[in-house]
Amino acid sequence: MRVRNGISILLGLMLAMAGMAAASAQQTIKVAYTDPLSGPFAQVGDANLKQMQYIIDFINAKGGALGKKFELVPFDNKSQPSDALIALKSATDQNMPFIMQCSGSNIAAALIDGVNKHNDRNPDNRIIYLNCGAVAPELTNEQCSFWHFRFDLHAAMKAEVMVRALPKDTTKVYLINQDYLFGQSVQRELKTYLTKLRPDVQIVGDELIPLGKIKDFSPYITKIKASGAQALMTGNWGPDMNLLIKAGIDAGADLRYYTFYAHLAGGPTAIGAGGENRVLSVMPFSENVSVETGNKEAEAFTKGFRDKHKFDFTSAGFRTIFEYLQAAVNKAGALDATKIAYALEGMSIRDFLGFETTMRKADHQLIGEYFVGTFKKGVKYDAEGTGLGWATTATILAKDIDQPNSCKMKRP
């Protein structure tokens, strides 16, 4: 009897909570956000969450969309696709129109599949998947979906940006990448674009390393030096990147490091002053861009985050995502995923840094400007209190990275 009482109380509570959730759903536009918020990669999700919150507050202050405010609802996925699918289920149960995810292409692939199935079965409760950083090219090519919108350049485009930023006098490069899906695709794409755009460049070494297993990169540096390389190109992230660059600086190797992720949380701290003028990173945003272009409004926006938080505003580019959402929801005129998705595709927006961007209709891939930053002294906004920060070396415009796609989009 007591057990049954307990169950009925629990049921009652759940009903009440569901009722509350339904009531508040009327007032805000909910965006489910799922990324690792615990475990070894928690720093990524945690930093993203705080930056998005700041951006959302800003967008809401500008009126939100359809008179409603955006609200971010975090779900921890512990870097597991299965947990991301549980987050998707909770989001659809609460009628949320958007789910957002930034790290891990394997998780993104599971989410695309899950969203496709859900939207087929529940035409009156559909959801849009906003991809803010899972960069496997397949996701907008073979695997492309009408419900998936990617707001970051994919790995092949980033590789092209990196190759385009390679100075003319660099003719010998060495590739080091992590031995798994992402690292291998970076390796493949870098080679493709080096052959295509820079036939004068010779690849003197090409190596895959086991993911997260190497504690001392000095032997690799010895090998790289012996090969006579002038530049090292790498898609490594986390300790694999930090330790690699650290070992190179310690050995005094005369190298430039072209990276994908040196600007992200933890990178500048690990690299330190020794990386001055040596480390470059391919990035969607840097706090010094607005200073360099004299864009006062954008600078005030990013400075506001610095004043509030202790860490860098590396992902201010997420603002573009919410500006797209704001415009698309207003254009659709209703919180209807199908209408919003149709409004999003092909949409063009001038982003807050003043560059033209387009959400490509054919594959739902955002095409926008990208920057290559050099780690050096004397910039206005330094990174992680190191005294050094990212100065823009090259700005690659949207038209230069408009790569073809093989997507066969099915529209409802």
Binding site: E207, P210, K215, D216, P219, T222, N242, L243, E384
Partner: protein, 315 residues
């Protein structure tokens, strides 16, 4: 030649760092039979303590204070943790240290945050000591070699030439007899555990700025240290030393030799093409699996010589 000399030096430095970590673990493991999962976590604590202490009083006091703190933590773990669960057998002890490892990681994340902390090498040692064929050899690496060599000497002398060392060795092999002769064996256990964790702390102090001080550093360093202990053999400091240097060199040199099994077969006149069975596996080059070689060696030694290189009894 150039590559050989530089790799040799790098292998030695890495091997000596491994030894600093493994020596404490092998002492604890051989004496108490406890596979201390929290050992690498104490290594991480050592690095974080040193970072915090060096913010206030500089690196040199931290070099002494941080290991002492770690030793105290070790003593506390032994007295209030391990001793209590000891009578429930080794599984309970194993689980206790495993739980501690998880707790320490979480506490570190909550105290110092999820990002790496800027723990840098002291300015006094921040210069290239000499150049070998154009590659700088940082003074700090020489300092690491020096510290670990001193440590090896001190432990060896302490165990072989002092009265305490004698009692420890006796308690190591015949705990009941040592106890019957009036020695306080539990206190010796505490002492050894504290000393072992202090060594791990010391390794953390000098390893934390050589590598990167971040919450994942315990997790990445843990497995390889176990390999060294098992490979070197139980109860043998010399075995542990040899195993550490060996692992350091193996990982360093594996990177340099770009060979695969296919190249080896080619020596015997067998050409590997895409149609050969297992061509994928045969074509994997040594650098790609270099970091996994120690684990392969551990499996081999467990199969063919379970007591390890210089062990006195079976694992």
């Amino acid at each position: 030649m150039e590559v050989f000399v530089v790799s040799l030096l790098n292998g030695l430095v890495y091997g000596m760092l491994l030894f600093m970590l493994a020596s404490g673990l092998t002492l604890i493991f051989s004496m108490m039979g406890v596979l201390n999962f929290a050992h690498a976590s104490v290594y991480m604590l050592g690095a974080y303590f040193a970072y915090t202490i060096s913010l206030y009083v500089g690196f040199w006091p931290a070099l002494i204070l941080a290991p002492l703190l770690c030793g105290l933590i070790g003593a506390a773990i032994e007295m209030w943790g391990l001793r209590r669960v000891h009578r429930h057998g080794h599984v309970a002890e194993l689980l206790l240290t495993f739980g501690l490892a998880l707790i320490i990681e979480k506490v570190v994340q909550m105290t110092w945050g999820l990002l790496p902390v800027p723990y840098r090498i002291p300015e006094l040692l921040d210069f290239p000591l000499f150049r070998v064929y154009g590659t700088q050899f940082p003074a700090y690496r020489a300092f690491m070699l020096l510290i670990s060599a001193l440590m090896f000497g001190a432990i060896w002398l302490g165990l072989r030439r002092t009265r305490v060392g004698l009692v420890i060795q006796a308690a190591l092999t015949h705990p009941e007899m040592a106890s019957a002769l009036g020695h306080n064996v539990p206190r010796i256990f505490t002492l050894v555990f504290a000393a072992g964790t202090a060594l791990a702390g010391l390794a953390g102090v000098i390893g934390g700025n050589y590598q990167v001080t971040e919450p994942a550093m315990a997790f990445t360093m843990g497995p390889i240290v176990f390999v060294v202990v098992v490979f070197g053999g139980l109860g043998s400091l010399t075995g542990c030393f040899i195993a550490s240097i060996f692992m350091g060199l193996i990982q360093t040199f594996a990177v340099v030799f770009d060979v695969s099994l296919a190249d080896l077969l080619a020596q015997f006149g067998i050409a590997v093409t895409a149609s050969t069975p297992f061509a994928e596996v045969l074509n994997v080059t040594l650098p790609r699996i270099g970091a996994l070689l120690p684990f392969l060696l551990m499996v081999l030694i467990l199969v063919f010589r379970p007591r390890g290189l210089m062990g006195t009894r079976d694992t």
